[in-house]
């Protein structure tokens, strides 16, 4: 089997590679989203701490 045959997936290339491509996107989104969420939460808490220090409590 050569590579072009492999990528052709017996004529089902669009359906198979769309499925795998979407899976990759969902996997990456699942990794990125909690990392961003953590950054946002920490930034929010840091702001709150700063605000409380400025207003004295």
């Amino acid at each position: 089997m050569n590579w072009s045959e492999f990528f052709d997936m017996g004529g089902y290339a669009f359906f198979v590679w769309m499925s795998y491509g979407l899976t990759l996107i969902v996997v990456v989104a699942n990794i990125v989203s909690p990392i961003m969420q953590r950054k946002k939460v920490i930034a929010r808490i840091k702001r709150a701490i700063k605000r409380e220090q400025l207003t004295g409590g």
Binding site: G10, S19, L22, P34, R38
Partner: protein, 229 residues
Amino acid sequence: MSAPLITWFSISALLIAVYGLYLGLFVAPTDYQQGESYRIIFIHVPAAWMSLFIYMVMAISSAIGIIWQIRLADMVAAASAPIGASFTFLALVTGALWGKPMWGAYWVWDARLTSELILLFLYFGYMALQSAIEDQRSADKASGLLAIVGVVNIPIIHYSVEWWNTLHQGATVTKFDKPSMHIDMLIPLLLMAVAFKLFYAALVLVRTRNEALYRDRNRRWVRELVEKL
């Protein structure tokens, strides 16, 4: 505490997925009826299994949270919802992409597909209640109740292919008889299922940690932790 576990789960998920994909895409034989299109199975079925598994985790943790007031259980439930929704979405779209060449339609309103779509809406409902209700305890209670009631949909999804006439094929793996599948197809499928489970394990730990930080944002332990970051 959870950091080494997260690393361990992530690395093993990646390695098992790479091996499973290698076997699934290069080693597994061509299907005599469906040709190469059947290779969607290696993500479609694990994603669908995860959509059910994560829902059960979410419902059981919600019940534990409501009955015994264990905060960690509520956090696990809330952390699971977006992950479960993403796997349900994946099961639906890969199913559509498999349905088009095999059945001639991306979507049909048959029992299996419709009940899986309802599962996606249950996840969305849970997340909507979580974000709409200001008071965290009320939010956990309301969304948790929805999750528990929604459990009736789980056996409906599983048995839909037997109870109704449906285009969707019946179970090939989860039945008491021997799986009616070539072993070279079955092994990559099971490997991918394990990889997806490990991936979820890592993700739910990361998200539960985020939930704890957010929910305890005014508490001392979080303040001390954040100041060190």
